[in-house]
């Protein structure tokens, strides 16, 4: 079986495990020290993306898969941007409308 050919050493998993702990701890520190605004958003999102990438790449073995699988999984997922953008515009419009109405 193709998947059986590449087995990374156990030490790699332990390192990644440690890395995930550290990243989670950092995102908890953001909460603990009560950071607000742009710093909070950018740090939380940064740690989130890093954790997700590490889990996908190493734990789910995507790093050792072929580009065809990367594309088949990644490209459809990118479509999720569409509802995010549409509903963000809609939400901004509604709160804008409310503000205008209530402050008139």
């Amino acid at each position: 079986m193709s998947a059986a050919t590449h087995q990374p050493p156990i030490s790699l998993f332990l390192k990644v495990w440690g890395l995930l702990f550290v990243l989670s701890f950092f995102s908890y520190l953001v909460e603990y020290y009560g950071m607000e605004g742009a710093w909070r958003w950018s740090l939380v999102l940064l740690f989130m993306v890093l954790k997700a990438a590490v889990i996908l790449a190493v734990f789910m073995h995507v790093w050792w898969e072929r580009l065809s699988l990367w594309l088949s999984l990644g490209l459809p997922t990118l479509l999720l941007i569409t509802p995010v953008v549409i509903l963000a515009i809609e939400g901004g419009y509604i709160s804008g409308l409310r503000l205008e109405f209530f402050t008139r």
Partner: protein
């Protein structure tokens, strides 16, 4: 291009020619056990379910008339006379990450042919998952009885908070519970030597599901609890 994936070790440097060859060759596109491909397709579908839940959460939160409750205050815990925000959630996060680590090791030992260690690590993963669900049940109890939050209402602010909370964490918890059952069944079969002839791809497939549950929690933790 007749390269099968067992000849290309470092596929990160794969080229577009490889993609064309995969899709145009007179054989299956993905050189992997069919169960693994099916799991990937299932997980892609699941990505959309969770993705749409999170998008709905964004929309509900942006459109809520009343202020969104402060998760920091709701999910805080007092320990040794000091108040820690989100302590239980942080512990749950660490437990799920640890369970992902033990699962990755189970997959590794399965392919090395060490049945005893595979079963050991799979059982550890299932137990950690079970403790995660237990803590989530406790968290639900807290919100329902101490804060009086319901799927249809919330005395602390925006009503939609209750609906979003129970929907997203409930659906994720259901995935964890299903994963625990799935892991237990596969671990039992591994211990009985059921896969000696078929090969141990099933452990990797189970692992994919389990890591995905962890992956989803990363996003829930960030979007729902931290932001």
């Amino acid at each position: 291009m007749t390269t099968k994936s067992n000849e290309t070790e470092v596929t990160a440097s794969e080229t577009w020619q490889g993609v064309v060859a995969d899709w145009s060759a007179d054989k299956e596109t993905f050189a992997m056990p069919w169960g693994k491909l099916m799991m990937w397709i299932f997980l892609l579908g699941d990505t959309f379910i969770f993705g749409i839940f999170l998008v709905a959460y964004m929309a509900a939160r942006m459109n809520a008339v009343e202020p969104w409750p402060d998760t920091e205050a709701i999910f805080s815990m007092t320990l040794f006379g000091h108040e820690f925000p989100l302590l239980l959630i942080a512990i749950m996060t660490f437990i799920l990450i640890t369970s992902s680590g033990t699962m990755a090791m189970a997959v590794n030992y399965a392919y090395r042919g060490d049945r005893r260690k595979t079963v050991l690590f799979m059982s550890a993963t299932a137990l950690l998952g079970l403790s995660f669900v237990g803590m989530q049940a406790y968290e639900w109890y807290q919100l329902i009885y101490n804060y009086d939050i319901r799927p249809w209402g919330n005395p602390l602010g925006a009503e939609q908070f209750g609906a979003v909370f129970f929907m997203i964490t409930g659906f994720h918890g259901l995935h964890v519970l299903a994963g625990v059952i799935y892991l237990s069944i596969v671990a039992r079969k591994v211990s009985r030597g059921h896969y000696e002839k078929k090969g141990y791809a099933i452990v990797e497939i189970t692992g994919l599901y389990w890591h995905f549950v962890d992956l989803v929690w990363v996003f829930i933790f960030a979007f729902f609890y931290l932001l």
